[in-house]
């Protein structure tokens, strides 16, 4: 059936709400407005204000209350309008959601799912455009998901709700309108493994979330030149699927990591380090990286686009690792 990324997430939420009375959604503008990105449109009318709860503008408030409701046996879905605003709730996310199981000696599960929009490309300026999912992937106790496909948009939420631990799902804002076909019976998907989105023997392009379409387009352009790229969609940033990374490197002997986050101290650095640690002798060239310019994301359209990973920059990076390998 035809759907969009946005509709797929909505269908996932609807299914969860219908299937489990402990599930409820809360966040800013999720009810009457249908969500700032229209993801929850129509859910208030169907499920009522107790289960589709508009909250005060209080990130720490609804994140902390979501944790409390989860401790009490509920299964909250908490929408944080964008990852940028989650910084106001960092203590609840990092010091509480991520630690309570450990600090309670395994007795206090926190089964809550946080949905956050991430990423740039829509001329929303720095404070609404950052990609901070790599930060969260640093934190023991959290599971970090980055659905990039319609199947994952449809299937990750349900699996995340079954997880007894806190899960953060990062939805790249540029993906909401992406249309496509999914199976009528599309359902839950695993939240452990990376996926190969395109097979190729010459270079591994490793990415996730909003840059997957950029990387796939880059791969098409490279194919026209005779360079076949293997495209790995990480899907899950914590825990990272090392086996998938190493398999792609063993096959292609070259890797480029494409990450909309900043380069320094980043997820792309972690991936590069893991490849170097575990597959150094498989490599024919140093690992390449394409990241965002290390500036607050610009507002001006042309400057914003220049700051983000692009097809041109991915192709250039591949040329470099392929050339360096002889």
């Amino acid at each position: 059936m035809k759907t969009t990324y946005r509709e797929a997430i909505r269908a996932a939420m609807r299914e969860a709400l219908l299937g489990d009375e402990r599930v409820f959604l809360m966040g800013e503008d999720v009810g009457r407005y249908g969500g700032c990105f229209a993801v929850s449109l129509g859910l208030l009318e169907e499920f009522g204000p107790e289960r589709i709860r508009d909250t005060p503008l209080s990130e720490s408030g609804f994140v902390g209350a979501g944790i409390g409701a989860a401790l009490g046996g509920m299964r909250p879905i908490v929408e944080i309008m964008t990852v940028n605003f989650s910084l106001l709730a960092l203590d609840q996310l990092v010091n509480n959601a991520a630690t309570l199981l450990h600090m309670s000696g395994g007795q206090f599960n926190v089964p809550v799912v946080f949905r956050l929009t991430t990423g740039a490309g829509r001329q929303l300026a720095a404070q609404h455009s950052h990609s901070l999912e790599g930060w969260y992937a640093h934190i023991p106790g959290l599971r970090i998901l980055t659905p990039a496909t319609l199947e994952d948009a449809r299937g990750m939420l349900g699996t995340a709700l079954e997880d007894p631990d806190p899960v953060l799902i990062f939805e790249h804002g540029s993906l909401y309108n992406v249309p496509g076909e999914i199976a009528d019976d599309a359902g839950l998907v695993n939240i452990d493994k990376a996926a190969v989105r395109r097979a190729g023997a010459d270079v591994a392009l490793i990415t996730y979330g909003g840059t997957l379409p950029v990387v796939l387009e880059s791969a098409d352009r490279l194919a026209a030149e005779g360079i076949e790229a293997e495209v790995v969609d990480l899907r899950v940033l914590r825990p990272l699927d090392d086996a998938a990374l190493l398999a792609a490197v063993a096959k292609t002997h070259r890797a480029v990591v494409v990450d909309e986050g900043w380069r320094s101290g980043s997820l792309s650095a972690e991936i590069s380090a893991r490849i170097t640690e575990q597959a150094f002798f498989d490599l024919d060239a140093p690992v390449g990286r394409v990241c965002s310019a290390e500036v607050p994301v610009p507002y001006a359209r042309h400057l914003e686009l220049a700051a983000l990973p692009s097809v041109e920059r991915v192709v250039e990076a591949v040329h470099k690792v392929v050339g360096a390998g002889g």
Binding site: R53, G61, A65, L100, L101, M103, F108, P164, L240
Partner: protein
């Protein structure tokens, strides 16, 4: 505090009290009807709870000084606030506390060895939160107020008349989380009680740095009814908490209680209040001791006999002995447990660390224990 020509809000000035510092009943028809049922026997039982809580506290402090515990946060002076409020709760209510509410934990029925488990470093948690309906102690100042609010939303959604109570101190009222929790609780009329023990200190910072006016005066601005109660008066605290619970159970939403008390001991055993505390102020508060006033009241009623006193002392000493024995019975955690409870399900990074550490331990004689 009040500028010339400016009058304090009359509500702010009112401190609810039923037993004054000398143990005399203070007439307050509005308040006392909430504790009409409390007989002299029952007041005696509240006294006993406070005496045991104090004795446990003294013993735990001694255990820390003897090197048996890493740290202990004494509750000395706050017994009435903790016992009076905790004894108002039902079993199905849920407590979200800070680290100092060991008197509350005692009332919830925590096992003696479980009180100290976390402070001895034997486990992340001393007790099973769901067996006594009390969360494990929150260390981040004020963060638990939001958990209580969210828990209360769940009660509301389930249609049960249980309530959540959040315990925090005067310092916490400056934290964003406490203020966000009050906004949240008011918006949804959540059945939650914000129980602030104003013990006058946030480590070395006096309450005047957190609040220019009585803290209870803030809650009405959030749309939350507020009570300011003598936190060293166990009867008044019991009454105030019953008022708040009644409101929560009947759909009336949250209540804020400021229990005005004093931290007679240090912030924790790592603190030295002589560096910042005025000893006269401390002496003033010691004269308003929560146990002494009940003792005086019971004595005047002919209830505080030698037999009663000796009975309470024996129970308190027995509690202390069990606490000490429980402490000594706790075994050190096994090295491999460090990797437990980060996630509920297997996690590759943890498995990798576990495997490496197992290998390392195998190189040390006796290291696999």
């Amino acid at each position: 505090m009040t500028a010339p020509g400016e009058k304090a809000h009359p509500e702010e000035a009112k401190l609810l009290q039923l037993l004054d510092a000398d143990g005399r009943r203070v007439p307050d028809p509005e308040l006392e009807r909430w504790v009409e049922d409390v007989s002299t026997d029952q007041l005696g039982a509240l006294y006993e709870d406070m005496a045991i809580a104090r004795r446990i506290d003294v013993e735990a402090t001694a255990l820390q000084r003897q090197g048996e515990l890493g740290l202990w946060p004494p509750l000395l002076g706050q017994e009435a606030s903790q016992i009076g409020s905790a004894r108002a709760l039902r079993e199905d209510d849920f407590v979200f506390s800070s680290y100092r509410e060991n008197g509350v934990a005692y009332c919830r029925g925590v096992g003696f060895e479980d009180i100290l488990r976390v402070w001895r470093g034997n486990s992340g948690s001393g007790w099973d939160p769901y067996s006594i309906n009390m969360a494990t102690p929150q260390i981040i100042i004020g963060a638990q107020t939001l958990h209580a609010t969210g828990y209360a939303l769940g009660c509301q959604q389930d249609g049960v008349d249980s309530a959540a109570i959040a315990y925090f101190g005067d310092g916490a009222t400056s934290e964003g989380d406490v203020n966000e929790a009050m906004v949240f609780a008011a918006s949804f009329q959540a059945p939650v009680i914000f129980f602030c023990q104003n013990n006058q200190w946030a480590i070395s910072e006096p309450v005047g740095l957190q609040a220019r006016r009585p803290i209870a005066g803030r809650a009405p601005g959030f749309g939350i009814p507020s009570l300011r109660v003598d936190g060293n008066d166990v009867l008044a605290v019991l009454a105030a908490t019953r008022i708040a619970l009644d409101r929560a159970r009947s759909g009336g939403g949250p209540t804020f209680i400021e229990a005005v008390t004093y931290r007679v001991g240090p912030h924790t055993t790592s603190d030295d209040p002589t560096r910042y505390e005025d000893s006269n102020q401390r002496e003033d508060w010691v004269r308003r001791d929560p146990l002494a006033r009940v003792e005086a009241h019971l004595a005047a009623a002919g209830f505080f006999s030698d037999g009663f006193r000796d009975g309470v002392k024996a129970k308190a000493d027995d509690a202390a002995a069990r606490l000490r024995a429980g402490c000594h019975s706790l075994k050190d955690p096994e090295p491999m447990t460090v990797f437990e409870h980060v996630y509920s399900s297997p996690h590759p990074a943890l498995e990798r660390q576990r495997a490496r550490y197992t290998q390392y331990l195998a190189t040390i004689e006796g290291g696999n224990r």
